[in-house]
């Protein structure tokens, strides 16, 4: 038990101020051999010097910004070369782990077959009474949603359970799942997404293929990003979300569910556009509307992925919808 090797993967871009805290917390993990890989996406600040201080870290440098999806894929390929690595932990550079994070998760999922991923209780870094995420799921409007986002922590009420999927801010993925991807066009994260929604895509793919994902509340991590992201909301994430939303739905959802959820899906898009109008004005909303059209035009690109994923579907569409209606709690 004490000799489990876990590969921790971090993709950084201009995170010189926080990267040290993240790596420190990884080396403080109890009860595992850690194998740390960092990919620097062409930072302009001294992120690389910060990382170089740690001798044990495998540092990879990219000459251009690969984005989150491709960057992580590169790292996963590297990490899995070590045959001892059965678990890969994806850690955002703005996340900090509790010392027992890895051990608690591994103790819970140990011995279970067909586990895709597991995540702990991710709290807000600045206020440990606020939840950042408990899991992610696709709602009945076919939108990706973080469960528990900004709710008050209630440790008494949490218990380990099966969930729709995990939030890639701080989560473990099994080698078994990574190596058995049904989708031939994406090694793990779909690189065509570039950024945003790629963890929803992975979660959805795992669920559809009959893999299990778990939420283990005793494993605590702290995440800075999401809560502060609203403050300086730029158009870029909104545009990417809009573009990738349709791709996730198209790739993974059975036609029957798409048809039955079409009114809800349109309602969801309408609400999303209204929110954009509120945040960025009419001009922004038109831009997002245009992005949806582009997203639609991009769909044929995913046709092969869809075909393969549908071929490997093991979960019935009825139960898929039940999980969506239950907010991703299985």
């Amino acid at each position: 038990m004490e000799n489990r090797t876990v590969a921790y993967l971090i993709v950084t871009w201009n995170n010189a101020d926080i990267i040290a805290g993240c790596i420190d917390s990884i080396f403080a993990q109890a009860g595992v051999k850690s194998d740390v890989y960092v990919l620097d996406n062409d930072s302009s600040d001294d992120t690389i010097t910060q990382v170089r201080k740690y001798r044990k870290v495998h540092l990879l440098k990219s000459t251009r910004n690969l984005g989150f999806a491709k960057g992580n894929n590169v790292l996963i390929r590297h990490a899995l070369r070590n045959p001892d690595v059965q678990w890969v932990a994806l850690i955002n550079s703005d996340a900090v782990l509790d010392t027992q994070w890895t051990r608690n998760i591994l103790d819970y999922v140990d011995g279970k077959p067909s586990v895709a991923a597991a995540q702990g209780l991710t709290l807000d870094y600045y206020d440990h009474h606020i939840v950042d995420s408990r899991h992610i799921y696709v709602s009945k409007r076919l939108q990706g949603i973080q469960y528990g986002y900004t709710e008050l922590v209630d440790h008494e009420a949490y218990y380990p359970r099966k969930v729709f999927g995990v939030n890639a801010a701080a989560a473990m993925f099994s080698r078994d799942f990574i190596e058995h991807q049904p989708d031939p066009d994406s090694y793990f994260f779909d690189e065509r997404f570039y950024m945003y929604y790629e963890d929803v895509d992975v979660a959805y793919r795992a669920l559809v293929a009959g893999y299990d994902s778990f939420f283990v509340p005793t494993a605590v991590a702290y995440h800075m990003g999401s809560v502060s992201a609203k403050k300086n909301m730029k158009m870029y994430p909104v545009i990417m979300t809009a573009r990738n939303h349709l791709a996730v739905v198209y790739k993974n959802t059975p036609w029957r569910l798409i048809f039955l959820s079409m009114p809800e899906l349109l309602k969801g898009i309408k609400d999303f556009l209204q929110q954009v109008k509120h945040d960025h004005g009419v001009k922004g909303m038109r831009k997002v509307l245009g992005t949806y059209v582009i997203g639609l035009l991009r769909l044929p690109m995913y046709a092969r992925s869809r075909r393969e994923i549908r071929k490997h579907t093991r979960l019935g569409s009825n139960y898929m919808m039940v999980v969506m209606r239950q907010e991703g709690i299985r």
Binding site: A157, R161, L260, S261, P263, E264, R314, N318, Y319, R330
Partner: protein, 532 residues
């Protein structure tokens, strides 16, 4: 314009037609309309109330040697669409100390392979392959023999549990160390699992209602020692094997502690071929249920005239306990002797006793009947303080026979209004410290949250209008006037809903409406009978 549209829809798709139901179901599923209106309050309950009713999870480690609960599920060719929701709902329980015995009797090889593969998903699942399919009771028995837990939890292979089901039961066990049987509320889920509906909020433990129907089933948690003591399930009671088991447990000569958890812990799937939809077709199940109730009555030594199945209510059993004894029927409806005796004549005419020997007596309402009853050497007494008449002549046999059932302090019939379908009194229930009438002026055919008004049920209070009780009663309050308040009694007040009494105005009205009678004569008749 919208109203015109609505009217057009109402004409094309009437609500109470199959076409109307289908179009509403389809559009609500697509999210175009809201669901059928009768589900709204339950949806509000699911959304606003249910998330806050469960206890926080008890922190326990799984104990492989002797877990607290053994969930026993007999599987038979279970399709994935039922199997995975069930296994997920068990594996995600908020309470950890359980094991699940998967007794697999599938004839389909693929199903067995799949089930075994899924059983590796959690170390607490235990897969047991049965050689042959010997019926649901035998299959479950094999599972129970393998069980190591202190309590057995019975679950069907196409249903699902609430995530807090075992935790709630564990909290009850922690509070009452001596608890033997635990049951909870339940609801139904649609065949595809999308919708929850038909919630059944049950009364707290009511042995008399249990005689009429197996209302405590699902979620059923029973102490494992007891199950073994009565010799597990009986294969010849297939279809009602769980009812039979519980009846045999309650027939044991010692006191059985039953606790009700008033939360929905079990979701019963309206599967295409499950008993929840097609119970009318399962005649073998009803035969088994009838036999189970008969066995119970024999075991506790109550004479009876057999057990019927109510024709319009499948899986409801109507037992006829009997008591050959002398009964004092005391009529004390009015101060006026003439009114009393007139009503006594009517009552005598409407009564045909087979087993009891009735003696009708008239007394003023203020009389002290306790002395007179004990002096008359009768075994039971029926007090009539208001003018109600039966339509069924065997009412007295039924009412007095019910007194023979264990834990029965007093029995009252369902009192109706002059309008045939409205309830005048169906007993009282305690609510916020006060006795409140049940189904007051409610339609007798309309099922409320507590079920139909004409169920047998244990109540907290009875109207004193018509009450039957044994003469050597431990509760002398029964001889007094006023609402019978049994809240502090260990014995139970029973509303025997199968007997209905109607106001005795009918004969007078017949007389008054007689065409040959002049208004003046009618007034005389009225004065004569009512005493004004």
């Amino acid at each position: 314009m919208p109203s015109l549209f609505r009217r057009g829809i109402a004409i094309l798709f009437p609500v109470y037609s199959a076409r109307g139901q289908t179009i509403r179901k389809v559009t609500s599923r697509m999210g175009l309309t809201r669901e059928l209106s009768w589900t709204h309050p339950f949806e509000a309950y699911i959304k606003n109330v249910e998330p806050f009713v469960f206890h926080a999870p008890l922190r326990t480690e799984p104990n492989a040697e002797q877990p607290l609960f053994s969930i026993v599920v007999p599987f038979f060719n279970t399709p994935d669409e039922y199997l995975i929701p069930l296994l997920d709902s068990v594996a995600s329980q908020s309470f950890a100390d359980w094991e699940m015995i998967m007794a697999d009797a599938s004839t389909d090889r693929d199903r067995s392979v799949r089930l075994e593969e899924l059983s590796h998903g959690d170390s607490r699942f235990r897969y047991v392959r049965l050689g042959t399919n010997a019926g649901i009771a035998s299959n479950t028995n094999t599972g129970i023999q393998q069980a190591r837990g202190r309590f057995i939890v019975f679950v069907d292979h196409d249903d699902t549990l609430s995530h807090h089901a075992l935790n709630e039961a564990a909290v009850v066990i922690a509070d009452h160390e001596d608890v033997d049987v635990i049951y909870s509320d339940e609801d139904a889920i649609s065949d595809d699992g999308w919708y929850r509906k038909r919630p059944s909020f049950k009364p707290s433990w009511s042995p008399h209602m249990f005689l009429e129907m197996n209302y405590t089933n699902h979620l059923s948690v029973i102490r494992a020692d007891l199950v073994r003591e009565v010799g597990l399930l009986r294969p010849d009671r297939d279809g009602a094997q769980d009812y039979d088991l519980l009846l045999r447990i309650h027939a044991l000569p010692r006191e059985i502690t039953t606790v009700h958890i008033p939360k929905i812990l079990y979701h019963w799937r309206e599967a295409q071929f499950s008993s929840s939809r097609a119970i009318g077709q399962k005649s073998y199940a009803m035969k088994a249920g009838t036999a189970a109730v008969t066995d119970y009555l024999d075991a506790i030594g109550v004479d009876h005239d057999g057990v019927d199945i109510l024709p319009d209510k499948p899986a409801w059993y109507h037992c006829h306990p009997r008591w050959s004894c002398r009964v004092d029927v005391v009529v004390m409806v009015s101060d006026d002797v003439r009114v009393n005796s007139r009503f006594e004549e009517q009552l005598r005419a409407a009564t045909g006793a087979t087993w009891v020997v009735p003696r009708f007596r008239c007394l003023p309402p203020t009389a002290d009947i306790s002395e007179q009853c004990t002096a008359s050497e009768a075994d039971a007494v029926v007090v009539m303080r208001a003018m109600y008449l039966p339509k069924d002549r065997s009412w007295l046999d039924e009412l007095v026979g019910a007194l023979r059932l264990p834990q029965t302090a007093a029995v009252a019939p369902l009192l109706m209004t002059g309008n045939d379908n409205l309830v005048a009194n169906a007993g009282f229930m305690e609510h916020k410290g006060q006795l409140r009438p049940l189904y007051h002026r409610g339609d007798v055919t309309f099922s409320g949250l507590a079920g139909l008004p004409d169920l047998l049920r244990d109540v907290d209070g009875l109207d004193d209008a018509v009450v039957a009780f044994p003469v050597n009663t431990d509760h002398p309050e029964l001889f007094l006037t006023g609402v019978v308040d049994g809240r502090t009694w260990s014995d139970r007040l029973v509303l025997w809903g199968l007997i209905r009494l109607y106001p005795a105005a009918m004969p007078f009205r017949d007389t008054l409406l007689n065409d040959n009678l002049s208004p003046r004569d009618a007034l005389v008749v009225l004065k004569d009978t009512v005493g004004i």
